[in-house]
Amino acid sequence: MTKTLNNKAWFFVLPVFAIVAFSAVLPLMTVVNYSVQDTFGNNQFFWNGIGWFQELLDPSSQLGEQFLSSLMRTLLFSAIILLIQVPLGIVVALSMPREGWTVALCLVLMALPLLIPWNVVGTIWQVFARGDIGLLGWIVNRLGIDYNYTGDPIDAWVTIIVMDVWHWTSLVALLCYAGLKSIPDAYYQAARIDGASRWAVFRTIQLPKMRRVLLIAVLLRFMDSFMIYTEPFVLTGGGPGNATTFLSIDLVKLALGQFDLGKAAAMSLVYNLIILAICWVFYTVMTNVDAERDRVEA
């Protein structure tokens, strides 16, 4: 194929650059600006250099310790979410019907949770899981299990995780389903001729064909769960104690609650870098299989 050079293309790209500059780069620069300064109010700022970053990354300082524990909490949360939602999404996708009118029904039902705004999800579960009037909380308590998400850290975690699984597993499932749909029938027929077991069909046909969509699913679910804010804020407000204070909640407390703009800005930047770094790791590891193969070929 020959490449055509056409300068008109710039006309289409430039507006995007402009929008990205205004919506992302400029605000980010403001954050960078704040992160190297200190303020005592009255709009007076003082140069602080890398002071905030040093404090943030030093676990013996109060800010550093707080940051580290929220970071650990958030990492744990994302790990649990990925470990549950990815396998569950695959299982759901595998058990969805492949043809007939039930397909449309399934797709609509599965898409429903995805359409509900985050704060509404939080509110729904806040009520649903209450021990006194919530259907779920009441039933669980009646079953003899002592459950109270506002008082018990474990209960709070379980509630948030179940809520997130309910909200987002269908995204993973729908992506996987799309991947499965793209497998031609001949593959399944060949596998039957070759005498492959159900597990072998999954391992050798379905999983490899789903790898690309799974990469997207993992990246999306990681970023989303790592930045989770609204639902736990509505449901638990970060409590009990600091049990569900994830990085985002911590950040908002710092920036808007205590108005520590410098610390909050430094934290935002580090937070951002961590997300980028982890996404990069996921991406590299998951595409590595392809790369490895190409190297063998060459």
């Binding site: 031609p184 001949a186 593959y187 027929q189 060949a190 039957r192 001729i193 070759d194 005498g195 492959a196 077991s197 072998a200 391992r203 050798t204 046909i205 490899p208 064909k209 193969r293 190409d294 063998v296 070929e297």
Partner: protein, 366 residues
């Protein structure tokens, strides 16, 4: 290894088939004898794949039975039937090497490792895959991938039959010819029943000892390539096999004479049983119709002469009916008036598309 019997087999993809049109396969009774090399030939959509899938168990027939030797396998799953099938488009397991791909059918059946390894090497060398045995299958060319699919079909030595569903569609023409000979060699060496689906008559005629011609969901004729050529039992076979196909001319029969328009053609046999309502046609292959100078046979107008390489074919008109005739070497035709000479031994009469045997006439019985 087995004889495969199709007993009153019919299949409809629709749930409640009523008319004949609902059936993708009309009733078929057929025996594939053990060790035969068969070609299943027919135009697109005539039900070839459906028939193969029923034999291999991927599709359960609406009616009838499939027998391997004397065992009724109609209700057995594909896995339990011990049959191999190669599909039109390559299927390879992306994550595996070529070697693992070829070993897969054996591994799933718990064949001992050393036997598997030996068998894989054998098949790889037959198909010229030895060089790439340790490469990942996913990045190879379509040719290579299809060879892997073929290899997986051939790797099990003990199958009842190997079914090939247009396996060489994606293969390069020169390689196609080579692979077909390889398959033929494998067939001779292994004595396995092979059924080879194609809609290409050259492919069918070169691969098979027996050709099964299908048309519109039914088997119209089974025979050796010569039989199909010399004595097509259905006008479809006459038309479909040969290039150009058989000349099929509507006619009227009186005893041992056929009339095409007002041209009179004497026949070797008499046809007294034909009834009035039937569609009567005369069929003769262009190979048995010779163009001659004017005045030596049946008068025709020459429209065009095509050189098709191995022969010259004249497109002529006889009493307003177009037909094709061969042009013998050294004949030159002036203007467009000429005549035809028909070989009476190769004139066939069809009623409603089916060959009519006719009766020997006294005068020519000698």
């Amino acid at each position: 290894m087995a004889r495969i019997t199709l007993d009153h087999l019919a299949h409809a993809y629709k749930a409640n088939p009523r008319t004949a049109e609902d059936y993708a396969l009309k009733e078929i009774n057929h025996v594939w004898s053990q060790g035969g090399a068969y070609a299943l030939l027919g135009p697109s959509g005539c039900g070839k794949t459906t028939l193969l899938n029923i034999i291999s168990g991927l599709v359960r027939p609406t009616r009838g039975r499939v027998l391997f030797d004397d065992l009724d396998v109609t209700d057995l799953s594909t896995e339990a039937r011990n049959i191999a099938q190669v599909f039109q488009f390559p299927v390879v397991y992306d994550t595996m090497t070529v070697r693992e791909n070829l070993a897969f059918p054996l591994k799933n059946r718990n064949v001992p490792r050393d036997r598997t390894a030996r068998r894989v090497e054998e098949i790889a060398s037959l198909l010229d895959l030895t060089r790439v045995l340790d490469r990942k299958a996913s990045n190879l060319t379509a040719d290579m991938k299809q060879k892997i699919s073929l290899g997986r079909g051939l790797v099990r030595p003990d199958v009842a039959a190997i079914l090939f569903d247009e396996p060489l569609t994606v293969i390069d023409p020169h390689l196609k010819w080579q692979l077909r000979s390889t398959l033929k060699e494998i067939h001779r060496a292994l004595d396995i029943t092979m059924i080879y689906v194609t809609h290409d008559q050259t492919e069918a005629l070169t691969f098979a000892d027996k050709v099964v011609v299908m048309h519109d969901g039914a088997v119209v004729q089974t025979g050796t390539p010569e039989e199909l050529f010399e004595r097509p039992t259905h006008t479809f076979v006459g038309h479909f096999i040969g290039s150009p196909g058989m000349n099929i001319l509507p006619c009227r029969i009186e005893g041992a004479t056929a009339f095409i328009g007002n041209t009179m053609i004497p026949l070797r046999r008499a046809y007294r049983t034909l009834s009035d309502g039937e569609r009567i046609e005369l069929g003769i292959r262009p190979e048995f119709v010779q163009l001659q100078p004017k005045g030596t046979g049946l008068p025709v107008q020459v429209r065009r002469i095509d050189d098709i390489g191995r022969a010259r074919i004249a497109r002529v008109e006889m009493s307003g009916r177009p037909l094709a005739a061969s042009v013998p070497d050294g004949i030159s035709i002036e203007g467009n008036e000429a005549s035809l000479v028909l070989d009476p031994n190769h004139v066939h009469i069809y009623a409603n598309g089916h060959l009519v045997a006719g009766e020997a006439t006294g005068g020519h019985a000698a």
